[in-house]
């Protein structure tokens, strides 16, 4: 797969100003901007690392350049939601779609482990979300105790927010003492976590990066996948599915006018 990706990038490079992809660094991988003529020997595909935020950062500085980006299913859906809120620009972005392996899909418990257009890899089926039903089948007291215990472990690193490509507000309400008492660990139950969850409604594609970076092993994916399912059931809105559909809630556009978001770049 990596060799196929390398070929694909070499093929696309003449048409773009750079390709945003993973590169081997140290013992792992990290986002990197490969420029025309760069050595691709350190190109990598795994372990995974979310790329939409680097796209936002690079496009913000170079709005007129054309980039390509290597995307998995979740990356693509995140980029679509970001584009709806003017955080990235799809017309200046070429996507190189990578289908996740079965192993990867199982690790992420991913419903849709592939982007719309697959350039690299073989598409595998999504993982059924039965664990959500199992969770909901538990008695209410047990579920409450489960979350109370989980959130009591929180060390307020903000990692869940920081790693999330959909968390791009310049002013974050989680840092506002009015809503979440500042400077206390753990943050008050359940405000910190539920405010964050509500603020991702209609944007969250349930990629699971928040859980992956959580030092306290809080099982955030359950919460976010349940929310995503509710959005789909109640509003028939599928985050990241269609770039031409308006965002579920467009209050963020209003916030952008108030300079609360990272400003539009063009």
């Amino acid at each position: 797969m990596l060799e196929a990706l390398r070929k694909k990038i070499q093929e696309i490079m003449p048409q773009v100003d750079g390709v945003i992809a993973l590169r081997r660094v140290g013992k792992g991988t990290a986002p990197h901007l490969f420029l025309p003529g760069d050595d691709l020997s350190e190109l990598a595909l795994s372990p995974q690392f979310p790329l939409p935020t680097p796209v936002r950062i690079i496009q913000a500085k170079y709005p007129d350049k054309r980039f390509a980006v290597v995307v998995r299913g979740c990356d693509e859906r995140q980029l679509v939601e970001m584009a709806k809120r003017r955080q990235i620009f799809l017309d200046k972005l070429t996507m190189i779609g990578v289908a996740c392996t079965k192993e990867q899909a199982e690790y992420c418990r991913c419903e849709m482990p592939f982007p719309k257009q697959v350039d690299i890899g073989e598409t595998v089926e999504g993982i059924p979300q039965t664990f959500l039903d199992d969770f909901l089948a538990k008695p209410r007291e047990e579920r409450l105790a489960f979350w109370k215990h989980a959130f009591a472990k929180c060390i307020k690193c903000y990692g869940c927010r920081n790693i999330c490509p959909e968390c791009f507000c310049k002013e974050c309400v989680l840092e506002d003492n009015l809503w979440v008492t500042s400077g206390t660990v753990p943050p008050p139950f359940p405000m910190f976590h539920l405010i964050r969850a509500m603020h991702t409604v209609g944007k969250c594609v349930a990629c699971g990066e928040c859980e992956r970076t959580c030092p306290a092993d809080i099982p955030l994916t359950i919460l976010y996948k349940l929310l995503k399912r509710d959005v789909e059931t109640v509003f028939h809105y599928y985050a990241g599915a269609d770039p031409n559909e308006p965002p579920l809630m467009d209050s963020t556009i209003f916030l952008a006018d108030m300079d609360m978001l990272h400003p539009p770049r063009r």
Partner: protein
């Protein structure tokens, strides 16, 4: 156009988490966790996530400065280096090398610290080199060396999550070392018994099977009480004691005087709970002790540490995976700064300066070495500066004017000194008193190695060039050394192509680092010392077959009261410590917007019962007074502290806890008693009425 991520090591605590500095066109624009890092595994705390936030701060020092009256003027590097070298030379010639003192830095790399002590010893000719380890884990270095022969964390961080019992004491781990704290919570979820001995109701205490709340300063008593229970009930590990230790007979003679009932009177810990916790620790398949400043920052700091060592040895809970005595070192490189000899009594690798053979070795290697007597410690150097015995101080990356106990005294001393050079990234409280300020590069702008608390040596990679005209620490030291004249030994030069070459020199002269090189670290990711040869894989667990000193030595000690007790005039015990969101004297974290926002100012924690008795309201400004000084700060009414105890974080210059703290020293390790002093609380204003508060809040928003 350039965008890349540079893997490096966090600059805050001693956990040694891996992080990626996100660089766009030569600017650090963000931080990501390193998912492949063996300790942090893609996790960071809030400080790690914000580790790059101060790098481009406008307050960064970018040019060398000379003091002119109450102001500073910018000068060229040549001028600054000439003046520093000239003054150091003059003072050495006039008053002798021991009139000069140098501070290494627990924030700087191993390579920079090695050069700093080499400058002191081989060029200036004094052992007056020390750093802030004195203020945190000097008792661990001394106490564990006495009992085990090696003053470092015995086991490795990742092992903790497999431990069957963890005894955490004097460490608010989830705030002080958050990623280690998370491992401890993980161990608990995997079924470990968690024992927390801490005066405060810290986050870990909520998960603990036993939370034993001792009166601050009574640690030897409860540790002896635990050993008492273990021996009385026959729970000791007889085989381990017989084959691996010595001086056991003396132990019972001491601990027999500490039945849990008496311990309860001294410490306030209920006798039955102490006994139950002792049994759980002794019987566990594997039990680890984790501790930090709450154990060491006492006049009995060394006693506390050796008592914990006694407890581990009597139960044989050491030398195996997931056991051991595990001091959590505070700073990113406090372990390394000690390892490479930024201490007044040892050369690199804990080779004693008073050992003539060792001195001869360095004399031959460098071509010069100071007389075989220990130099002065940081606290002593400041005292001696006050009386004129130390004429010049060269301080790299430390801020004693906020970190020393009784800082009024430290300030007077530094005002009096003839020549003060401070090398730092910001104009710290200490730098404001300097005659010459040298602008240094931050961790993002330098390369080298940091050694984490579990003896894990890791590469620090340069992400961007130094800001402005600032220079890397190691380069500045080399410039000064060359101007002073370097000795002629085979390792006497101060002329390196890069930091890899400095590490090669460290490896050649430091047996425990003998097999460490940048090339190997690049290949393996990390190496844990002792690592003696180029094919030595390193040592994750110490004392497995035998102790470093051969047999482990029991050092029974009796309980002594803290230096300062409460009385009618000063009825509260003040204890000090860290909060999650800030770092030490705040020079970096208070310039990181997201960290500053969490805790913008200092405060004091007061129990609701005390607050009610003294009629103190929420967030009311109050005055804390000790025998040494007074500070005004905000009251935070919380059950985290017990009645009679107040807690203050030490990060805030405007409400500096160390105006109040007691400079009484541990007789062995010379650490000041930051954790216990007596204070009283004075009201400044009347309790504000609720309607006034509402009005004030409406006005503010």
């Amino acid at each position: 156009m350039e965008y890349r991520n540079v893997p490096t090591i966090c600059t805050y605590c001693g956990t040694g988490c891996g992080l990626l500095l996100e660089v766009l066109d030569g600017q650090v624009v963000g931080t990501y966790p390193d998912y492949a890092h063996p300790v942090s595994e893609g996790h960071l705390c809030i400080k790690g996530w914000n580790a790059g936030a101060f790098v481009h701060h406008p307050d960064r020092l970018t040019k060398p400065l000379f003091r002119k009256g109450n102001d500073f003027v910018e000068v060229s590097w040549d001028e600054a280096l000439e003046r520093v070298a000239g003054e150091l030379k003059r003072i050495r010639d006039q008053y002798g090398p021991d009139a000069i003192g140098l501070f290494g830095s627990a924030k700087a790399t191993n390579e920079a610290n090695y050069l700093m002590q080499k400058l002191a010893r081989a060029v200036i000719g004094t052992n007056n080199i020390d750093h802030c380890a004195r203020l945190c884990h000097a008792p661990s270095v001394a106490g564990l060396a006495m009992t085990f022969g090696s003053g470092a964390m015995t086991n490795s961080i990742p092992e903790l999550e497999n431990s069957r019992c963890i005894l955490v004491t004097g460490s608010n781990t989830t705030e002080g070392h958050p990623i280690i704290g998370a491992r401890i919570m993980r161990a608990k979820e995997r079924g470990a018994t968690l024992i927390v001995v801490d005066p405060r109701d810290i986050q870990l205490a909520r998960f603990a099977d036993f939370h034993l709340r001792q009166r601050p300063g009574t640690d030897v008593a409860w540790i002896n009480g635990m050993i008492h229970v273990i021996l009385r009930e026959g729970l000791e590990n007889k085989e381990f004691i017989a084959t691996r230790t010595e001086n056991f007979d003396a132990l019972w003679e001491v601990v027999k005087e500490y039945p849990p009932e008496r311990v309860e009177q001294i410490t306030g810990i209920p006798a039955d709970q102490l006994a139950a916790a002792a049994r759980a620790y002794a019987r566990a398949e594997s039990a680890a002790i984790v501790y930090a400043m709450g154990i060491t920052q006492h006049t009995t700091g060394t006693d506390n540490v050796v008592s914990l060592a006694n407890l581990a040895m009597v139960t044989g809970q050491i030398g195996r995976p997931s056991t051991g005595v595990n001091p959590l070192r505070g700073q990113n490189n406090v372990q390394g700064a000690c390892d490479v000899g930024a201490l007044p009594n040892v050369y690199p690798g804990y080779q004693s300066v008073t050992d003539e053979k060792v001195r001869q070795k360095f004399l031959e290697a460098w071509g010069a070495a100071p007389p075989a007597r220990a130099g002065f410690t940081v606290t002593e150097m400041v005292d001696l500066a006050g009386v004129g015995a130390i004429r010049a101080l060269y301080i790299m990356g430390e801020n004693p004017l906020l970190s020393d106990p009784n800082i009024h005294h430290a300030r007077e001393a530094l005002e009096r000194i003839e020549f003060l050079v401070v090398q730092d990234i910001f104009l710290s409280e200490t730098a404001q008193f300097a005659h010459v300020v040298l602008p240094a590069a931050s961790f993002a702008e330098t390369s080298g190695t940091f050694t984490a608390t579990d003896r894990r040596v890791q590469l620090v990679r340069q992400a961007i060039p130094p800001i402005g005209e600032s220079r890397e620490d190691w380069q500045i030291i080399c410039e000064i050394a060359r101007r002073l004249g370097t000795p002629a030994g085979p390792y006497g030069k101060f002329d390196y192509a890069g930091t890899a070459e400095i590490m090669d020199e460290i490896a050649a002269l430091t047996p425990i680092y003998g097999g460490i090189s940048h090339r190997r670290l690049e290949e393996l990711g990390f190496l844990q010392w002792p690592c003696r040869t180029p094919d030595d894989p390193g040592t994750p667990i110490l004392h497995t077959e035998q102790f470093t000193r051969g047999l482990g030595r029991f050092q029974p000690v009796h309980y002594r009261d803290p230096a300062e007790l409460t009385d009618k005039e000063y009825p509260f015990i003040l204890t000090t410590g860290r909060v999650m969101f800030h770092w030490h004297t705040g020079t970096m974290t208070r310039r990181s917007p997201k960290l500053h926002k969490e805790v913008p100012e200092g405060y004091v924690e007061i129990n609701p019962l005390d607050a009610e008795r003294l009629q103190i309201g929420k967030s009311e400004r109050i005055r804390l007074v000790s025998r040494r000084g007074a500070v005004e700060t905000k009251a935070w009414i919380t059950r985290r502290v017990a009645p009679g105890v107040v807690f203050m974080p030490f990060h805030f210059a405007e409400a500096a806890a160390n105006v109040l703290t007691n400079a009484a020293l541990d007789p062995v390790a010379k650490i000041p008693e930051y954790k216990v002093c007596a204070v009283r609380i004075e009201k400044i204003t009347e309790v504000e009425r609720p309607e006034k508060l509402v009005a004030a809040r409406a006005g503010a928003s």
